[in-house]
Structures are given as structure tokens and as C-alpha cells.
């Protein structure tokens, strides 16, 4: 028997390494018609901000080769709405609940974490540092080690449970950011978020997205994400959660071998909402075939010449 459970530290223990990625599964409920949510390792719910956000204008998505660009813009009803209306509906789910937190200032992140504190079924926050820092000219928190660390230090003071930091890949050296947030007190890092991209409708000579640029996700980004997970897992001691273009169990195993302790499934949920449960079965079978008894045997097990 293979033991798929994974302990990411500081109270985030999951029955298996497969989570749903933020922004691609709503609050989990949207996928409940297709999968048994309690079979998942965890769910990272939609990006949550202090105040309600309407998000960007349409069009918000366009398909690109083996992927898609999105410009949703963190549409959500705000943390208070989450606490009062959504949490009670999902609190009884038998899976690890993670809230993805976004903000446009350090104070925003802290205020959201503070509001989440009374919710004892929330095992972790996943701090999304890909957001623009409004006070610092709109530069993303996640592209500067000291800004990234400042968010984590502040959130750490108020959030004692598991604190995961979601890294943006839109940097020259992602290991610098990973080390900065580890130093600042993060319990784990998840990577990657979407890659900044752009596509033009050449006949109309206009961008496809209302925001001109958007976030690229899907299979197209997988090799880059795998490379980054591999680099980061060697640069930090905290667990790494890998994502970016996973479409099936085989792809998930690729991230685990590269050094991830767990994985998240994003855009693939749109193509096949059952991808996550199929991936769990695949990983179990894979580990059995390769005589791997538990997750420590597969994480980082890539052999190099």
C-alpha cells in the first residue's frame, strides 16, 4: 500500500498531494458535480481581497497554443462576504482548505488574513504576491525580494497557521524571491502563477484581451514551470508546491520528481473537471509500480546522470 499523505508543515497535512489551483475551481463547489471534493488533498479557493472587486472588462480570455491567456483581474466579493456566506458552505468539506489572498498593499494582505483567523477550518493561506503594489507604482510584490519579504513578515505576525507563498514566474531569478520569502517566515512556496503574455487579433489589429496583456496558463508553460520548481526546491528547505500546465497524472509526477511535495491542477479543470481525481489514482499507481512507499520517496526523485 502506498501512503499518499503529505505534511507540508505547520498544520497543513493533506491526504494526498493533489490540490485544485486558485481561480480555476471557484470555491470547489463549481466542480462538485464532477468530482468528490473530499477525495482531494486540498483546494485553494478563488483569490480573495479585502474589498469586493469587479475584475477587468471583457473579453477576459483567449485560447493560445496549448494554453490560454486570462485577464480576470481577481473578481471576488471580498473577504467579509467569504467569511459570512461562502465559508459556512464549504467548511464541512473533508479536504484541506486554503484561501488564496491578494492585495494591493501590505496592509490589505494583513487585513484579509486577520479576517480569516476565526475560521478554524482554513488550514492555510496562500499569499498571492503576483499582485501589483499600488503604493509602489504598481510593480508586482512578487518581482522584488524585499517587497515580497515585507508582505510575508507582516502576514506572519497575524497568521500563525500554515503560510504558503505563491510565486510569480515573471522574474529573472525565481530562487531569489523564494529564498527571501523563506527567510521572512513562509512555511511553503507554490509556483508558478501565470506567465505574462499577449495575443493580437491580426485581422482586427486589436489585442484579444481588454487589458492587452494577460496571464498565460496551460500545458504551454509546463516545461518552464518544471524548471523553476526544480531550481527552487534546491534553493530552499521549505516544501515546494508545483503547478503550471499539469494536464494529467503523468504531468503531476513530473513536478514531484522535480522536487515538489504537492501539486495543484489549474486550467486542466476547464478541459476535464475530473483531472485531479484521475491524477491521484495515477500517482498511486505510479508509486506502486516504482516501489515508492510514501511521498518522501517520490519528491525530488529525479535521477541525474
Amino acid at each position: 500500500m502506498v501512503d499518499l499523505s503529505v505534511d507540508l508543515g505547520n498544520g497543513l497535512r493533506m491526504k494526498n498531494p493533489v490540490m485544485l489551483a486558485s481561480g480555476t475551481c471557484g470555491y470547489g463547489e463549481e466542480l462538485a458535480d464532477f468530482i468528490d471534493l473530499s477525495s482531494l488533498g486540498g483546494i485553494s479557493v478563488k483569490g480573495t481581497t479585502l474589498h469586493a472587486r469587479q475584475g477587468n472588462a471583457s473579453p477576459r480570455m483567449v485560447e493560445t497554443p496549448s494554453g490560454m491567456l486570462n485577464a480576470v483581474g481577481l473578481q471576488n466579493k471580498g473577504v467579509d462576504y467569504f467569511v459570512e456566506n461562502i465559508y459556512p458552505r464549504i467548511a464541512s468539506l473533508d479536504t484541506s482548505l486554503v484561501v488564496n489572498v491578494s492585495g494591493s498593499s501590505v496592509d490589505d494582505y494583513v487585513a484579509v488574513c486577520d479576517r480569516l483567523r476565526p475560521l478554524d477550518r482554513i488550514a492555510a493561506v496562500e499569499i498571492n504576491i503576483s499582485c501589483p503594489n499600488v503604493k509602489q507604482g504598481g510593480m508586482s510584490f512578487g518581482t522584488d525580494p524585499s517587497m515580497a519579504a515585507a508582505v510575508v513578515v507582516a502576514a506572519r505576525q497575524i497568521w500563525s497557521r500554515h503560510l504558503m507563498v505563491k510565486l510569480t514566474p515573471n522574474v529573472t531569478d525565481i530562487t531569489l524571491i523564494a529564498r527571501a520569502v523563506e527567510e521572512a517566515g513562509a512555511d511553503s512556496v507554490s509556483l508558478t502563477n501565470t506567465f505574462l503574455g499577449m495575443a493580437i487579433d491580426v485581422e482586427r489589429q486589436r489585442p484579444y484581451l481588454s487589458t492587452i496583456t494577460g496571464g498565460l496558463s496551460g500545458a504551454a508553460i509546463r516545461p518552464i514551470a518544471v524548471r523553476m520548481v526544480w531550481q527552487v526546491s534546491q534553493a530552499v528547505r521549505i516544501p515546494v508546491v508545483g503547478l503550471g500546465g499539469i494536464t494529467c497524472g503523468r504531468d503531476a509526477v513530473e513536478f514531484l520528481l522535480a522536487g515538489a511535495s504537492a501539486v495543484q491542477i489549474g486550467t486542466a479543470n476547464f478541459i476535464d473537471p475530473t483531472t485531479s481525481v484521475k491524477a491521484i489514482a495515477y500517482i498511486e499507481d505510479y508509486m506502486e509500480r516504482h516501489n515508492m512507499a510514501d511521498m518522501s520517496a517520490i519528491t525530488g526523485a529525479m535521477k541525474t546522470p
Binding site: 471557484g26 475584475g55 480576470v72 476547464f270 473537471p273
Partner: protein, 249 residues
């Protein structure tokens, strides 16, 4: 749910009707105006599913009417008979079936697809249904015989090759006819023009939106439309059919 394609009937050069049956079991209950998300089989040039309206369905069979718009819809129109399709259905909320009186169903191009099932359903509910179908030219008028069998059908063509010359919005049935409710599906500019006439005449009106969709199940928030009462809402979940009262156009 897996489907087996029984028949692919070309409708002119640009369209095809796909008739299919579930591989196992019965068709789920579907409402007129609901849609499906179709996986494009063996396609290297598409990634996501494609949203397509349900043209007709009963307990055994479903029809999809597809216009060639790009790689995905081309692949569907060229499917060999017997092909298997993975389809998520039924999705979204369809047309209001509680409407009564004189109901006008206005369609443009392939947007006529969901109106066939809607018309047939309304007729069985005792509603007086008329169709007003517009197209560029005669060969873009689809399933005309089936519409005529269902109710009084008027057509407009931009080149005047059949029916009234011009757009549906030029047709006296829409501008002056006695109408209690309009249900409309077609290109966005057409729906906006029909909605404007409905507003000015004080007629209740529903439209079926085709915003760009990724998931089709309310999980990604890519397909939103701005509403008067609730801001941005998912077209795939709260629509695709909306009463124009809710829309900001």
C-alpha cells in the same frame, strides 16, 4: 458524458448538423437555450472545449448545429460518422418558459440553433409562436423547413435572395407586429438592435449571449457580463440567456 456521432449533415459549405446519442444511458433533461461544452477530438490546434447551443434534444438524441468559425468548429463539421465526443452538459440557464401571448423568436445566422427547440417547447405549452430569421443570404438560412413546421416563419436576407430584403430589425413584424415577448439569439450587434427595439416598444425581451468561455461551469470567471442588479455575472452559469432588463445595453 460520451456521445457517439450518428450523422453529420452538411448545411451548405459553412455549417453542419451533428446528430448524436449518448454512448451509455439516456440523455439528461435539457431546457431550450442551454448549451454544451464539446471536447474537440484529436485536435492539435485547439486546447479548450468549445461551447455550442443545444439545437434539439429528446431522451435519446441530441443535435448540435455548428458554423465553421475556426479550427475547433471545422473539426466538428468534418467529423466522420461514428466518432466519439466527450461533452459536458447541460450547462447554463435557458429561456423563460412561462412566457405567454404572442411570442416572437428572432434568430440570426447560426444563432437560430437554440430557437428551434425553444419554439417547439413553447408550442406544446400552448404559446403562439412566430419566428423571424435573418441571414446574409439564402444558403445561411438553416433548418427553414423545421421552423415552418413549428410556427409561422418570416425571413430576411441582406441580399434579398429570400423573404424581406434587409435585417431582421427592418422587418415590420418586429417593428410594428403585436408582440408580448421576444426571445433572440444571433450576432451581438443584431441582439443589441433587437433589444433596442424591444425597449422602445416596451416589450419584454431575452437574449442569449456568446461571451468567450473557458470552463463553461462557473469556475473561471472568464465569461462575465455586467448586470444592473449584480455587477459582473458568469454568462455560462447565470446565462447564456438574460432578460435585457438585467443588461447594461
Amino acid at each position: 458524458m460520451d456521445f457517439k456521432v450518428r450523422e453529420v449533415v452538411p448545411h451548405g459549405r459553412n455549417y453542419a448538423l451533428l446528430r448524436m446519442m449518448p454512448v451509455k444511458g439516456e440523455m439528461p433533461e435539457v431546457e431550450p437555450g442551454q448549451f454544451v461544452q464539446v471536447e474537440i477530438p484529436n485536435s492539435k490546434s485547439t486546447y479548450l472545449r468549445r461551447p455550442i447551443s443545444i439545437n434539439w434534444a429528446d431522451r435519446r438524441e441530441m443535435w448540435l448545429l455548428v458554423r465553421r468559425a475556426g479550427a475547433g468548429t471545422n473539426a466538428l463539421c468534418d467529423l466522420p460518422e461514428g466518432s466519439r465526443l466527450s461533452i459536458i452538459l447541460p450547462l447554463g440557464r435557458g429561456f423563460d418558459l412561462s412566457v405567454r401571448g404572442n411570442v416572437l423568436l428572432v434568430g440570426g445566422g447560426v444563432g437560430t440553433a437554440p430557437l428551434l427547440m425553444l419554439g417547439k417547447r413553447l408550442v406544446t405549452l400552448g404559446v403562439d409562436v412566430k419566428f423571424l430569421l435573418g441571414a446574409r443570404t439564402t444558403s445561411d438560412l438553416l433548418q427553414l423547413e423545421l421552423f415552418k413546421q413549428t410556427g409561422e416563419t418570416r425571413v430576411t436576407t441582406e441580399d434579398g435572395s429570400m423573404g424581406h430584403r434587409g435585417l431582421v430589425t427592418d422587418h415590420p413584424l418586429l417593428t410594428d407586429g403585436e408582440i408580448d415577448h421576444i426571445a433572440c439569439c444571433g450576432p451581438l450587434p443584431m441582439m443589441k438592435a433587437v433589444a433596442a427595439i424591444a425597449r422602445s416598444r416596451g416589450i419584454s425581451c431575452e437574449v442569449s449571449l456568446e461571451n468567450m468561455m473557458a470552463c463553461g461551469i462557473g469556475a473561471c470567471l472568464c465569461c462575465v457580463e455586467d448586470t444592473v442588479d449584480a455587477g459582473n455575472v458568469c454568462v455560462c452559469k447565470e446565462g447564456p440567456v438574460f432578460n435585457i432588463k438585467r443588461l447594461k445595453w
